[in-house]
C-alpha cells in the first residue's frame, strides 16, 4: 500500500492539520498533513498517500520522473502532462509567494 501521488500545496491550515492540494487536474482537494517534522508551505510539492501527506519532494525530482517517462515511452503521456502542470502550478505559487513577501 505504497501508492503515492505527487501534488502541489495550494493552502495550509496547521490549526486543523489539513492542507488543500492539486494533483495536477486543477481540482483542489483537502488532505491531512501526516508529516510533522517538516513545515509544509504553499506551493511546495508533496507525496500524498490515501489522503495523507507523507513526504515532501523537490521540483528536480518531479522533472526527473517526467524525463524518465518521456525517455521510456518516447512521447508525452497524460501522466507527464499532469506532472508538467504540477510543476507549473508549483512555480507560479512559489513566485507569487516570493513577490508577496
Amino acid at each position: 500500500m505504497c501508492i503515492g501521488a505527487p501534488a502541489v500545496v495550494l493552502d495550509v491550515d496547521y490549526e486543523n492539520m489539513i492542507a488543500s492540494v492539486d494533483y495536477g487536474d486543477g481540482i483542489p482537494r483537502t488532505v491531512i498533513i501526516g508529516i510533522l517534522d517538516q513545515i509544509i508551505k504553499r506551493g511546495e510539492l508533496v507525496i500524498v498517500h490515501a489522503g495523507v501527506i507523507v513526504s515532501k519532494i523537490t521540483e528536480e525530482e518531479l522533472i526527473e520522473q517526467v524525463e524518465f517517462f518521456r525517455e521510456v515511452l518516447g512521447e508525452d503521456i497524460q501522466l507527464t502532462q499532469i506532472y508538467r502542470q504540477l510543476i507549473e502550478t508549483h512555480r507560479k505559487i512559489t513566485q507569487a509567494v516570493k513577490d508577496h513577501n
Partner: protein
C-alpha cells in the same frame, strides 16, 4: 553507496535509459561473481504491492538473470485483512450503519459471509449503505450530510496511521463516525515471511529485501535494521520508479558479493534514517501496538495498531462491541485459493489452481486478486514472464495429450 542518490546518478549520466542499461549490466556482473562463488539460485523479496506493480508492469524480471527470483511479500493490506472484519462490516451495513471503505475493500470477499452476503458490494446491492471513499476526509465530509451512525474501515499500513491520529487529536471526527482501526505494521510480517522461507531448505533462500518506501517515510529506514542484523541479509529501502527498483537489486547483489548485510536507503528523495519523529509520536499517542491477525497467516506479535482507551469514543471496536477474530478462523481462504502462500513469496500466482480460471480481476475469489496492489491482480493485469512460461507449458502439454 551506503545511501544512494538516484537524482545525482541520473544527472551525472544524463539519461535514465543509459543508467538502466548500466545498472542491468552491473547486476549481471555481480550475479556472475556470485555464481562463481557457488550461488545457484536466490530470491529477493519486494515487500510492497507498488514495488511488485513496478516489477511486473515494466517487465523488470526479464532484465535480471533467470535464477535471481523476484518474489512478492505481504505488502497489500487488503489481502491480509481477516475475513472476520469483512463480515463485521457487512453485518453493520445490513443493520443500518453507513460503512465507508476504500475501493478495493468494497469487492473483498469474506469466506463465511453474513446471511449469504459475501462482500460489501453484495451488501450494497441488497440495500446496505456502503460508500466508497479515497480517504478519511472524504468520509468526514460525507458524514456531515446525514446523522446516521457510521464506520470508516481504516485499513492500511503505517502510512495511513498518522492521518487517523491527526484526525483524532485535532477532534475533527464527527460524533457519528467511528474508525475501525485495522492498521498493520510491516516489519513483523517481514520477519514472519523470512522465518517461513527458511523452513523449506529445498527452495532458494530469500537473500535480500526491497523495503517499502512510503512506509519508511514514517517509520524511518531504521525500522528495517532487525531484518539485516538478525537475518543477515541486505535490505534496501526503495523508491517506485523502475530505475529505483533496479538500483535496489544492484545494491543487494553488491552487498552479497562483499558478504555485507546492511540496511540502506535508495529512496533518499523521501526517506530518512529516523523517519518522521513527529508522526511517530502522534501515532504512539493515539494507538497501541497489539498482536494482530493476518489473513491466511494467523496472529503475528506486535503487528497491528488499535486505538488507546483514552480515545475509545472514536473507536468502532468499542462502540459496536467488535471482537478480534478467534485464532481458529484465520486460515480463512476460499477453497483452493493459495493467496496465503502468494503473500509470503512461497508460491507464484500461476501456481494457484484458481488463477485466471475462476478467479479473475472482474470476479475475484481470493483477496490477492481484489486489490490493485494484490500480487494476483497485478500478474493478471500486466502478465509476466512466469505467466507466459506457465501458459506455454499448459499449451504444450495439451498439444502432447492430443
Amino acid at each position: 553507496m551506503s545511501n544512494i542518490d538516484l537524482g545525482k546518478l541520473i544527472s551525472i549520466l544524463g539519461s535514465s535509459r543509459d543508467l538502466a542499461r548500466l545498472i542491468t549490466e552491473k547486476i549481471r556482473d555481480y550475479w556472475m561473481f556470485l555464481t562463481s562463488r557457488g550461488v545457484k539460485r536466490l530470491k529477493i523479496m519486494d515487500f510492497c504491492g507498488t514495488h511488485e506493480w513496478t516489477i511486473t508492469h515494466y517487465g523488470l524480471r526479464s532484465l535480471v538473470p533467470g535464477d535471481l527470483e523476484l518474489v512478492a511479500g505481504p505488502g497489500c493490506p487488503v489481502c491480509v485483512t481477516p475475513s472476520h472484519f469483512v463480515e463485521v462490516l457487512i453485518k453493520l451495513s445490513l443493520e443500518g450503519v453507513v460503512v465507508y471503505v476504500y475501493g478495493d475493500v468494497y469487492k473483498l470477499r469474506s469466506t463465511r459471509g453474513v446471511k449469504n452476503v459475501y462482500s460489501l458490494a453484495e451488501s450494497r446491492s441488497l440495500g446496505g449503505d456502503v460508500r466508497v471513499v479515497t480517504d478519511i476526509l472524504s468520509a468526514i465530509r460525507d458524514v456531515k450530510s446525514h446523522n446516521k451512525p457510521s464506520v470508516f474501515a481504516g485499513i492500511g499500513f503505517e502510512t495511513v496511521a498518522p492521518g487517523y491520529a491527526q484526525i483524532i487529536l485535532t477532534g475533527h471526527l464527527p460524533r457519528n463516525l467511528k474508525i475501525l482501526p485495522l492498521v498493520k505494521l510491516t516489519p513483523p510480517a517481514m520477519f514472519y515471511a523470512l522465518d517461513v522461507s527458511r523452513e523449506k531448505p529445498t527452495e532458494p533462500p530469500i537473500m535480500g529485501v526491497i523495503a517499502p518506501g512510503h512506509v519508511s517515510t514514517i517509520t524511518g529506514a531504521k525500522a528495517w535494521t532487525p531484518v539485516s542484523e538478525n537475518y543477515n541479509i541486505p535490505v534496501v529501502v526503495s523508491g517506485f520508479e523502475p530505475v529505483d527498483v533496479l538500483v535496489s537489486i544492484l545494491e543487494i547483489l553488491r552487498q552479497l558479493s562483499r558478504g555485507e548485510a546492511k540496511t540502506t536507503i535508495e529512496y533518499t528523495r523521501a526517506v530518512s534514517w529516523h523517519g518522521d519523529l513527529g508522526a511517530q509520536a502522534s501515532i504512539n499517542k493515539v494507538f497501541e501496538t497489539i498482536d494482530d491477525a493476518w489473513r491466511g497467516i494467523g496472529y503475528l506479535p506486535k503487528s497491528g495498531l488499535r486505538i488507546r482507551d483514552k480515545y475509545k469514543i472514536y473507536d468502532a471496536f468499542y462502540e459496536y462491541g467488535i471482537r478480534e477474530p478467534p485464532p481458529g478462523e484465520l486460515k480463512d481462504m476460499p477453497l483452493g485459493c493459495r493467496c496465503a502462500e502468494v503473500v509470503l513469496g512461497k508460491a507464484y500466482p500461476t501456481q494457484c489452481p484458481l488463477f485466471l480460471k475462476t478467479c479473475t480481476p472482474q470476479r475475484p475469489i481470493g483477496p490477492c486478486m481484489v486489490s490493485i496492489e494484490g500480487t494476483c491482480a497485478i500478474w493478471a493485469k500486466y502478465g509476466s514472464r512466469e505467466l507466459l512460461f506457465k501458459l506455454r507449458e499448459e499449451l504444450s502439454s495439451k498439444v502432447k495429450a492430443t
